[in-house]
Symmetry: C2
Subunit: 257 residues, 2 copies
C-alpha cells in the first residue's frame, strides 16, 4: 500500500503546484463526484484510494485503468479538502486547441480573461456548461483551470465542455469563426435585457468576463462587438462576477433555446 | 491611542463571534467601502482607524459620530481580512421586523432558508439588491447576516435592502401580503424561462432559496405556490446556489421592469 513517501505519491502530490501541473500536463481530481466525471471523460490515469474509499465506490474502482490502494496519510497528502471520501484520481489535462474548439461552431462560448480567483473561474465554467456553452476559454494570465479549487468549483463541468487555454488576444479568432463578441462592463452602453428584447442574443455569442478587481482592458472592450452591462435596479454598485456571468450566459441560453 | 488591550477594542473584537453579536445587537464592518455604506445608512456608532487610515479617508472620518484612533495591532485584532485599509466601524444591526418589511409591499423578496455559507448568503443579498429586491429574509437556521464574511460578500447591500430575520415558517405571511412564493428546486415542475414567457413573473414575488447541500425541505416546497427549476442545457448536474439565485432574481427583475 502506498504511503506518503512512496515515489508515485510524492510525484502526484507535486501536482498541487501549478508549475508542476503545467510541466506534467496532469492534475488531481478528488472526491467521488469529480472522479466519476473524470472517468466518464476518459482522462483518469490512476485512481488512488484508501481501502475503505475504494470499497465504498466499487463502481468507480471498476472503471479505473489503474487502481492504487493508499494509506489514510497518503490520501490526506494528495487531497486539498478535508473529506475527499477516500478517492483522488490522477488525470490527464484535457486542453482543447482553440482552432479545434471553434471548428465545432459552438453557439455559446465563455471567455474568462485574466480571472485570477479559482472559485470564480470554476463557478463560471459550471454555469457556462449549464447554460449550454460548448467551450470555456481561459485567456491571458487567467487562473489555471486545473487548480484544485477551480476543479472543485466546476463540479465536473471541466470534463463536459471544451477547456481552452489561449493568449489574451483571441477576439479575431472568435469573430472570424462567426461569434459576436460581447464584453461585459459595468458601464457598457448596451444592457443585457435590451439585447434580449432586440433579438440580438440568438446569434452565436462569445461572452468576455474580466477580473473582478480590474474588469476587462480597454483594448479588449474596444475590440469587442458590444460592451454590455447587467442593469442594476437597486442600490448595489455592481454584481459579483460569477453572478453577472450567470445572468449573461442564461440570457443567451434563453434566446438560443 | 487604543491598543489591542484597550477595553473598547477587546469588547469590539468579541463581535467576531455570533453569540456576542446577537447579544449586543452590533457588528463590525471593515474597509472603506463597507464603512462608507454603513455611514450612509446611519448605523455607525464608532469608527476605529489607524492614523494613516483615518487620514487617507478623511471624508469618511468627518461623517462618523465618534472616531477612535487605534494602533496597527488593534486594527489587525478587529479586522478579519488582511487589508481593511486602516478602518473598521462598530455598527448597530439593522434588522427590520418582517411585518414592517412586508407593509412596504415589496415587489421582489429573496428568502435564504437555512443557508449556512456566509459567502453564498452575502452574494445573494448583493444580487437581490441589484435586481431591485426590497427585502432579504434570513429564515430559520440561516447564517447570521452580520457574519463578517457575509457582510463583505454583500458589498454594502446589507445596508440597502431590508434585512429580516425570521423563523423558517414565513410562507403564510408572504402569501397573505400578496406575494407569490416560488421555491427553487433542481427538480421543480416549472422552469424559470417558461414562467417568464407566460408572464407569471411580473406579479410580486418571493423567491425561496435553500441550502446548497440539502435544498429546501419538503414542507416548504409543498407550501410554496410553485416549485421552479433553472433549466440545464448542458452537462452540468446543477448550478451553484448563488448563480441559480442570480438567474431567478434577474428573471423577475426583467419581468418587473
Amino acid at each position: 500500500m502506498f504511503t506518503p513517501r512512496t515515489p508515485r505519491i510524492v510525484a502526484a502530490r507535486r501536482l498541487q503546484r501549478r508549475r508542476d501541473r503545467d510541466q506534467a500536463g496532469r492534475f488531481l481530481a478528488e472526491g467521488p463526484q469529480a472522479v466519476r466525471e473524470a472517468l466518464a471523460a476518459g482522462v483518469v490515469l490512476e485512481l488512488f484510494g484508501t481501502p475503505a474509499g475504494l470499497d465504498r465506490h466499487a463502481e468507480l474502482t471498476a472503471q479505473a485503468p489503474e487502481v492504487s490502494p493508499v494509506t489514510e496519510e497518503a490520501l490526506e497528502a494528495l487531497a486539498e479538502t478535508v473529506s475527499p471520501q477516500g478517492l483522488v484520481a490522477l488525470c490527464e489535462q484535457v486542453n482543447v486547441p482553440i482552432a479545434e474548439a471553434l471548428a465545432k461552431s459552438p453557439k455559446l462560448v465563455a471567455v474568462v480573461a485574466e480571472i485570477r480567483d479559482p472559485g470564480n473561474a470554476g463557478t463560471i465554467l459550471r454555469t457556462a456548461d449549464a447554460a449550454g456553452a460548448g467551450a470555456v476559454i481561459f485567456a491571458g494570465d487567467a487562473v489555471d483551470p486545473y487548480n484544485g479549487k477551480c476543479v472543485r468549483a466546476s463540479a465536473g463541468s471541466l470534463f463536459h465542455v471544451d477547456v481552452v487555454r489561449a493568449p489574451l488576444d483571441v477576439l479575431d479568432l472568435l469573430q472570424d469563426s462567426g461569434l459576436q463578441v460581447l464584453a461585459t462592463s459595468g458601464t457598457g452602453s448596451d444592457d443585457v435585457d435590451s439585447l434580449l428584447d432586440g433579438g440580438l442574443l440568438s446569434a452565436p455569442t462569445a461572452w468576455l468576463f474580466g477580473s473582478e478587481a480590474h474588469g476587462l482592458s480597454d483594448g479588449l472592450l474596444q475590440k469587442a462587438d458590444r460592451r454590455v452591462r447587467v442593469p442594476i435596479y437597486g442600490g448595489a454598485e455592481s454584481l459579483n462576477l460569477a453572478a453577472a456571468a450567470a445572468v449573461c450566459l442564461y440570457a443567451s441560453a434563453r434566446a438560443q433555446r
